[in-house]
Symmetry: C2
Amino acid sequence: MVDGVLSDLQINDVVHATIRQSVAVAQKLEEQTGEPFIHLEFGIPGLPACRYGVEAQIEALRGGIASVYPNIAGCADLKQAGSRFVKAFLNLDVAPEGIVPTVGSMQGSYNLMLEASQLTQGKDTILFINPGFPVQRQQTRILGIKSEAFDIYDYRADRLRDKLEEYLQKGNIAAMIYSNPNNPAWICLTEDELRIIGECATKYDAIVIEDLAYMGMDFRQDLGTPGEPPYQATVARYTDNYVLMLSGSKIFSYAGERIAVMAFSDKLYRREYDELRRRYNIARCGDAFVLTYLYANSSGTAHSAQIALAAMMNAAVEGRYNFVHETAEYARRAARTKEIFVRNGFHIVYDRDMDQPVSDGFFYTVGRHGLTDEQLIKRLLRCGIVAIALVTTGSNQNGLRVCVSRINTDSEFEELDRRLQLFNTLTD
Amino acid sequence: MVDGVLSDLQINDVVHATIRQSVAVAQKLEEQTGEPFIHLEFGIPGLPACRYGVEAQIEALRGGIASVYPNIAGCADLKQAGSRFVKAFLNLDVAPEGIVPTVGSMQGSYNLMLEASQLTQGKDTILFINPGFPVQRQQTRILGIKSEAFDIYDYRADRLRDKLEEYLQKGNIAAMIYSNPNNPAWICLTEDELRIIGECATKYDAIVIEDLAYMGMDFRQDLGTPGEPPYQATVARYTDNYVLMLSGSKIFSYAGERIAVMAFSDKLYRREYDELRRRYNIARCGDAFVLTYLYANSSGTAHSAQIALAAMMNAAVEGRYNFVHETAEYARRAARTKEIFVRNGFHIVYDRDMDQPVSDGFFYTVGRHGLTDEQLIKRLLRCGIVAIALVTTGSNQNGLRVCVSRINTDSEFEELDRRLQLFNTLTD
């Protein structure tokens, strides 16, 4: 039946199936069997939306905001709130000017990479520090932007510098992009590694795009007290060449409303580029991002969602809403399912940050010695479990990404255990 | 003082100032003089948002929608409502599958032009039937897509076919784009002209992107009764190679929430392109638009805004909300201000559709014999009136675009009259 569905959906290579294809495979098998799958493939928030956002958004709509174009640079409230948020949880000084809302971080990275590739003649390539979110690489393909990538698995700590320089020395890297905590591996770059990235970015004049979609979710320490250390680790301490991507989707479980902010360093926001002046008659990097790229892409992002994010950030900054404690729920689910996987003979693929085991969180990675990715995925499908292969995230490792957001109740954990026991009885 | 502000804002050529630059000039002059301007430059809805949308959006947020990623192809409710809306007001059959929400029509045209330019090797150029919305042309510049354009002023009726064929015969035109009613000229293409465009699109296999931002607002006839003629004129009656852009911004005064739908003809949605299969492994035009272009651009559009647009379209289809009568307010303002301009010595530039005077509506065009655009704009600024030059919209005509959305009260009309009388006393 699995082979039949793959064939129906024209998926020749299950290992390279995208997230959406994997969803479709599971749905079709659910229809045919009447049996619900355990969904580990898709990173949907598994928590209710932060109520401070919902309340503020409703109030804004009642006040008539729906007819009013948002300021293309972002509502003043949100720009101010973003600046406060970055100060409270990252201990960074970013002027409100540099806080720019986007239609999710998806629109942010799309336009940041496009702009980065147009800033300087000859700097036309984006470097992906993988594994990563597959769609970001796809963005460069759609836009016709060149890209390079490597898997950080073999290049942790000091080895990272040589690897980065190998690419950066060529002089064609416009920007580097990675997520931290990492989707899919949940590795967290150490301060030493972030220093290396920052120093390389400055030395070779490349912009670092740091995706903080899962900010604060390194649960090995409590990063949730505003204005007090420990703070979320960030490359911003080591270079001025940065833009941070702060999405409301996971931090505030606000994925439905497609709202994020980009935080430009003051220096980068104000930096002038001759190429921007020549092409668009707007020289400042941040102004061009807003008035050229975002304006032409969507003329801003939904007004009421901006008000929602401003309210949620302010609630977090003022200690009324602890987003780290709320999302710690994911760590509980990760710990419990990891134990089930390991007990049934699986192992964690990206298992350590230097001397520490990786944090529990939204994602982790599992592999199974002796099985190819194709065997692993197909046997799991036969047991009613769906997940995507690490290779689709730019990883060179065998294994799968597991997302814990949709597995929650005791009976779901027990069912996972039962199905993995079943898995151990299968042969091809 | 006008020259000082232009110099401060680094605007060397006031005739080519963008909308946003013109806004900035007026703001600065308002600050310096303490005197409010008459704003004719910016197309903001001047009416409250349709309450059916606001109510539905609030209810959806209360129901917890903010945490739930929208289906990337659009909410089922909105796809259904869009299909009904197109049937009721355009008398077209478009399957719900072909109704795809975007972050305003801005995101729609951006991605439609990008996709169109990638469908067929050699077809890499977008043809703009001008005058038009300046940002659409800017979208192709940002994306590095080739474009051609002509001003329709001298090519109405039968002359249109030869002009179109002059471009299309080269074989490199991927898509044609125009708005109807036209921003900025408020000309409405006749059925004959639309037939010509449609026949050419079929003959030369080019996609027509028809921007219906001001749908129903040809107030010379009442296009507001669902399911009954007369219907909004559309190229869709003359070709299957079309995508219509239906924005909530002006029709429902919902600009703040950045919500529109694209309506693909059934045939185009399902058409397979080898280039799409090769590049993205998704061959169908509509599927690729959704799963490749929109997914990578913003992962969909705000969930609650989709629910709002669905509710507003349903209210219109069911006769509970007459968007044509609501927006007819703009025609009243246009008629009144046109009379003031003409009485003070101005003339309407794009004044006729064949034998008929253009409709009153959201925009119109004015010129003044004997004055260059620069003289005209600067003298108006000196009188506290701001508007953009037609040349920035791809027109070859002298004159200005006037938007009536922000002029409303009796005292504002009287003030316009007073300032135009003052204008007539000025010399350079």
